[in-house]
Structures are given as C-alpha cells and as structure tokens.
Amino acid sequence: MDWMAWTWPTAIFFIIIASTLTVFTVLAIKFPETPRKGILRIETTRGDRLFITLLGSAFINLAWLGVVGANQPLALIVCLVYAFAVFRWV
C-alpha cells in the first residue's frame, strides 16, 4: 500500500464514497424504484441522482476553492443544499 501514498484524509474520503455506493446499492436491491422525470427532463433513479450529486459537489468544491478560497466546510454546506435539491427535484 506504500506506493499508493495513502493519507488519512484521502482514506476517509474514499471510505465515505465507498460506503455511500454500498448503501445505495443495497437500497436499490431492497427497494426497487421506477425512474422519474424531474426538472432536467431526463429519467433518473436514486443512483443517477447520487451521481449527479457527487459530480456536482466536486465542481462546487473546486469553484469554492477558486473563487472564495480554501474554506471547504462552507463549500460542503452548499453541497448539502445542492444534494437536497437534486434528490428533491431532479
């Protein structure tokens, strides 16, 4: 594992991503759902919305870092609002 140059913050980051994926996989198996159409006018399932959330959050964090400065906890609050909006309306 040495060559991968692990650090605790990146390890925690990937553990969170992996557990989120696992939770959503289990949810998709236990509670199958029908896709729905939201404001993007495309059919999405929970998994799609999770993907949109994660990808969008990455861009929000980068934009925050570039425009506001290195204060990521605040960016994460924006991400949570964004995640809520995606799961509610997309």
Binding site: D2, W3, M4, A5, W6, T7, P9, T10, F13, F14, T25, A28, I29, P32, I42, E43, F51, L55, A58, F59, L62, L65, G66, A70, Q72
Partner: protein, 289 residues
C-alpha cells in the same frame, strides 16, 4: 412487452468491476492521494492539503491550455460535422461505388495515431514534405515549427483528415435508414433539395449526428499523440493542448502533486461530458424506441 426489471443482474458485472478496479480505479485513487501531497521522489510524501488545487485553479498555464483545447475542439467540430454530412449526402447510395467509397473512407480511421502524426509531420516539412515544399515553391510562407498559425492549420487539417470519415460514415448510416417513401412523398409535394434535407434527412440523422458530435468532442478533448508528434506543443506553447501540458508537468517536470490536481480536474470535466453523452444517447434511444 414490459421488460422485467431485476437489479440483482448487476452482480453479473462484478468481474468487470474487479478488472476496472485494477486498471483504473486504484491508479485513480493513487492520483487523488498524490494531489494532496508533495514529493521529491523516493516515495517520500509531505502533506500539502488543497494547495495544488488552489495553485492549479489560479494557474494561467492551465487556463490557457484549457482555452486552446476548447478552441481546438470547437474548430474541428465546426469543420468536421458539416463536411461529414456533406460527404455522406454526396456518396453513392448503393452498388460498387458505394462500397468503394466506404472502404476508402475508413482507411484514415484505421491508421494509428502516432503514424498519422508522423505522416503529417513529414508531409508538412518544407525541405522534404510534399505539402510544405509545394507551398514554399508557390511562395506561401509555411513553417509549422515556427509559425503559430501554420502549426494550428496543420493540426486541424490533420484531425479533419483523420476523423471526418467517421462523421461521414455515421451520417451515411443515418441516411441509409430513411425509407424511400419519405423521398417519394417529398417528390409529390415538389419539395426542393433544401427542404428535403431540412425536413427529412436532418431530423432522421439527428440521432447519429448527436453521437458523432459527442464522440468527436470527447476524442478531440483528450487528443495527445497527433499534435505531440507533429508540433510537440510548439511553437512555444501555441499547440500545447491539455493532455500535452499534463504530460509535460507530470513526467517532464516531475511535479506529481500539481499534475495530479490537474488530472483530477481534467478527469472531472471528461466525466461530466461522458455523462451528458450517455444521458443524451439513452434518451434518444427511448424517444425512438
């Protein structure tokens, strides 16, 4: 008939997932680890936090490379898509010449990237290349190693030569799928050639054209080998596109941290475009199906 939806089928994808983990996910995780650290080699790392991301986001070099990249993709799309459609419209629809055209047009697609680069590198040389020598003999100043404009023209024409066939072949496939009845109806209505194109051929080609646009955009956005072989990113930084700049940073300067941060941002943009690509295709399929 309604398809049965069984999410358990996803478990069948597991073997692929393991393969992809080794070929892509684990290396990508390593890149993420690099992006928050600094190294001077010998596998020793120092914590740097978000410094590299900050630096890259404010780096003129990266934004310039991104600008050049977007310009490159925009130019080749504006040329290749209309040209490809034009070629497809003028191809013989059936018989020997149709097959002949198809074969001839697929030839550039079969040539490896670095060979395409070498072909154009030699073709454009003023001392021995047919193109460079002819232009020089005509009194036109052309030198892709010194003149920015010439370098850009060369890599754009090279890409057009390499990939317009793909657009043409896709557009041709789209045209072939239009039933004759549509053309007969247009003839009865005395529709003009333009009207036939605008109201029959274009709408029917929309699906494949969408695929062509997105494929060409993605490919041109990730292009490395051809411009690297021809111009090496020069003159100066004039043709240093994103991936060329990235390789310079990671391997040339061994700035693993900044290069990793750069890679992640590049990857995110590509991921976003791929997602749009996938979504558009799936939705077109649904509309047609």
């Amino acid at each position: 008939m309604e398809k049965t939806i069984n999410q358990k089928a996803w478990f069948l994808v597991l073997p692929v997932l393991v393969l992809v983990a080794f070929s892509a996910v684990i290396p990508l995780m390593t890149v993420v680890n690099y992006s928050v650290q600094d190294t001077f080699g010998q596998n020793q790392f120092f914590w740097a936090g978000l410094e590299w991301f900050d630096e890259m986001l404010h780096s003129e070099r990266m934004w310039d490379a991104l600008g050049r990249q977007l310009m490159f993709s925009a130019i080749i799309l504006t040329i290749q898509i209309p040209l490809g459609v034009f070629v497809a419209l003028n191809m013989p629809k059936s018989g020997f010449w149709s097959s002949f055209c198809l074969v001839v047009m697929s030839l550039p697609l079969l040539i490896p990237w670095n060979v395409v680069g070498t072909i154009w590198q030699i073709f454009g040389r003023v001392d021995i290349g047919l193109l460079g020598y002819s232009l020089d003999a005509l009194g036109i100043s052309y030198n892709y190693t010194q003149n920015t404009f010439a370098a850009w023209v060369t890599i754009i024409i090279m890409d057009v030569w390499h990939w317009t066939s793909l657009v043409a072949l896709l557009a041709f496939a789209g045209l072939k799928s239009i039933p004759d009845a549509y053309y007969q109806a247009a003839k009865i209505d005395q529709a003009s050639r333009w009207a036939i194109f605008r109201y029959i051929e274009l709408p029917k080609m929309m699906g494949v054209l969408m695929i062509a646009i997105l494929l060409r955009f993605m490919d041109s956005f990730m292009i490395y080998t051809e411009p690297f072989v021809v111009t090496g990113g020069g003159p100066g930084n004039a043709t240093t596109l994103l991936s060329i700049d990235l390789v310079k940073m990671a391997l040339g300067q061994f700035d693993l941290g900044p290069a990793a941060a750069f890679s992640i941002m590049y990857y995110l943009v590509i991921l976003l475009i791929s997602w749009v690509f996938y979504t558009v295709m799936i939705n077109l399929d649904k509309r047609e199906g």
